[in-house]
Amino acid sequence: MDRVETIKLSWEETWSLWKDRVAGGLVLPLFFALVACGVIVLLLLVILWMTFVPGLPTEPGFDLSNYTQVLGDRLLPTVGNTVLVGFGSTAFALFWSVSMAWLIHRTDMPWKPLLMAAIAVSVLIPGFMKAMGWILLLSPKIGLINLALMNLLGLEDAPLGIYNRFGIIFVQGLMLTPTMFFLISGPMRSMDPALEESSEVTGVNKWKTQFYVTLPLMWPAIFSGAIYIFMTAVSIYEVPALLVGFGKYPLLSTAIFLNTAGTEQATKLPQYGMAGVYGLLITIPSIVALFFYLRLIKQSHRYAVVTGRGYRPKLFPLGRLKYLGSLFVLIFVILAVILPFSVLLWASLLPSLKMPSREALSYVTLEYYSRIGQIVGADVIRNTVLLMAVAPLAVLFLALMISWIVVRSRLWGRGAIDTITMLPHAIPGIGFAFALVIVAMLTARWFPWIPLYGTIWVIILANVVNRLAYATRVTNAALLQVSQELEDAAAICGVGKLRAIRRIMVPLITPSLLFAGVWTTMLVFREVSMALMLSNPGNIVFSVHVWTRWQSGAMSEAAAMGVVMVTTLGVIFLIAQSVFRGRLYGIQGL
């Protein structure tokens, strides 16, 4: 009893102790990191459990039939094609994105804001529309480029093909380049030129410096981005579904689609268990890559470029080559933005997609634009606004908490937290969405007062879980680049950890957070597969609305909505750029 009394603390003392612990900088971030990881692990367990359930989760049965069926279902070619498409698309996206990020952020190339806005809005053009655009251009039978080349060179057969694995790599590579570009923009922009200057002082020429100093410093950001892009590339199904269909080149993503939304056997219900097994197969290479990534960031001090010593970002002078640099980016913009956007615009003016011709011009109308107001209800707008406002904020907050633990602490198991955070991206969103349906249904049954099942909150939760992987890549990279010495300096001055985060770290990485917020908002706005799976009459969002219209044959309306969406967000992006004066992409100098 005496002993108890001796350790009894007053309220002020308890608060002070708690503050110290919180000020230790770990309790709060750890709490939120564990909550986020808890939700992810719960959903993963549901998916894992589903892989052993032969039918619906509410029905009896627990066996290995999903695994045996997947193993017998042309698995080798499916995995082989998936790996080829995954690596090919990633390599293609890396080539463009690293080159363009360097040109835009590290050189004195002209027309940067405009080109960056063009790259940004390209992500909003729906994937199916991009694929259709390239079919119009490169189809061996009707492709405009092929027809022109055949006429010009007097060929009998089309010289270019798009209905193969390389066609998928080409279109997906173009689609994924903007994402990769923005992933590495922050780190690229915040590079301390002192390191490059030191290299030059030792007599190394400017170009070699870029190759041997700048590029290696970017390695963690490029590597983590590449993992993200690979995972995305192997999960996309609409491009392969349109370009090669479902038979010739089976892929894991199309197999998942066939087992869920597009059940190929009419009398069968979707086989979520089999989709889960395919999802796990996609996860394996991602986990291997994550292992190497985590090893890399263990040596994070080697990549810290923002230190306590001040620096001023310096641009690499391209001289006469600067217009060539702009041309390089412009070529990408033409391939990835202008051409697909033209198809979107063209489709929005016609009752159905037609090859450009004099006859087709006679069908041109603006009717589909005038109908947008009538076909998008107030509910859809309200749900979409709520989704775009809440999901990115929650994602940013959780990402910062998780990255703090992963990058800034020496806690045991921090690597596991980072791996868990990345897993939602490895498993196709549709798998997570189905797991969420089950969890939400159980919640509705046991805790009916929690508004989850059938509400917009379940879609928000799905997006938060799914986008954490992306946001933590940005926040990890940003924190990796801020040297520990800044916190040490704050500690010496008697500033607690929490205050140091708020007053020193957050301002330093605000541009990266802003960028992650803007980008997450755009990705959340565009996301359709999870929202479709979780849709109920009360939670329809804009992307589901557009997708449903396209599926219903109203391609013109869907395209008109797409044009309005891309133009509006493009203008918002340009305004945001001028307001933030370019701070959207990286850490500003001290």
Binding site: I135, A241, L242, E264, L269, P270, M441, G553
Partner: protein, 376 residues
Amino acid sequence: MKLSRILPFQALKGIFLLISLFFLEPRLWAGSAPERQELLNKLVEGARKEGELVVWGIQGMGDDGGRPLGKAFNARFGLNLRFKYDEAGATGEKFSRAIMETQMGLPASYDAMYAPDHRIVKLIEKGGVEPIERWELLLPEGVDPKYTSPPAVAGQGFSFGNRVKLIVYNSKLISLKDLPQTTKEVGLPKYKGKFYTAPWTTGPIFGVLVYSREEWLEIMRGWGQNKVTTIRSRGGVDRMMLGEFAFEPFSNEHYYFELKEKGDPAGMAVFKDLVPLTYLFHITRKNARHPNAGKLFALWATGPEATQIFEKYSWTGNIATKASKVGSGVLEEVAKIGARLVSWFDSKENLSKLEWFGTKEGEAYEEKIALALKVK
């Protein structure tokens, strides 16, 4: 005095017909007009109290189709319900959730749901459908109860339209006379590289109604060998109209009508040996939040008033009513060449074949069909 002298012959004939109708027509036999009115009033008053109706409906309607549908429904019964028409999502996913909601005892997300014939049987089997009592009395005037709610789904599913599987083609690339006449001919070498197939078996499983299983599988292998690719119908018809494919063998008639309206070079033809006819039903969900409104809608949607709205916005035809131009157009096409329309509800034997697809053996066979169509 002879009766014929008192009443003219025509009047006698009329009386005879009325008496015959009374005994032969189940609706007249089963109940009287006041009874019908009473039952209807009960549903209408129930719906009025519920104040809302949430429907998961056929794709293609959109908000611009959903609004007039709700307006006509409300006007018909003097109601002012908040009408929500949702067409988002794949059918399989929606049915999985409907079954899970039923099995977990949760309130249904939708009051009334659209259900194609290959899905409805499973939902009924799992207890997800609320039957409507005395439904024969409540159907709109002129609707045939036997067709609208066939024995296997009687009182639970109410057909509001059909989908007919037929050839949709690009008339600029192939002429009507050059198209395959039978399903077998699709496998001929001359059709190699001319068409695509959809990645699902909704149409192909009908083959067992006309051919032996082995024979049909062989036909499907022929299709699989000759097809250019396997892609979703929506993307497929777009590419077909752009000039990449000549035809899709088991397409849906609504694509033809939709494309024609948009000025595309679309044509429609049927196979002589097999024209699959699918039924599209509405069901009322067990545990629906607004069951009376759901039932009233499912019944009303079978009538000509709703048919015209469905047809206008989603090209969904109904072969049972002349009010449907799409339905009449398809029937005309079928009659022209003396083809066979076949459905799962034509006979008990046909229905048992649909049920057979739910067995292990049936599933394995369907998988073989899917594989035959997919493999290049």
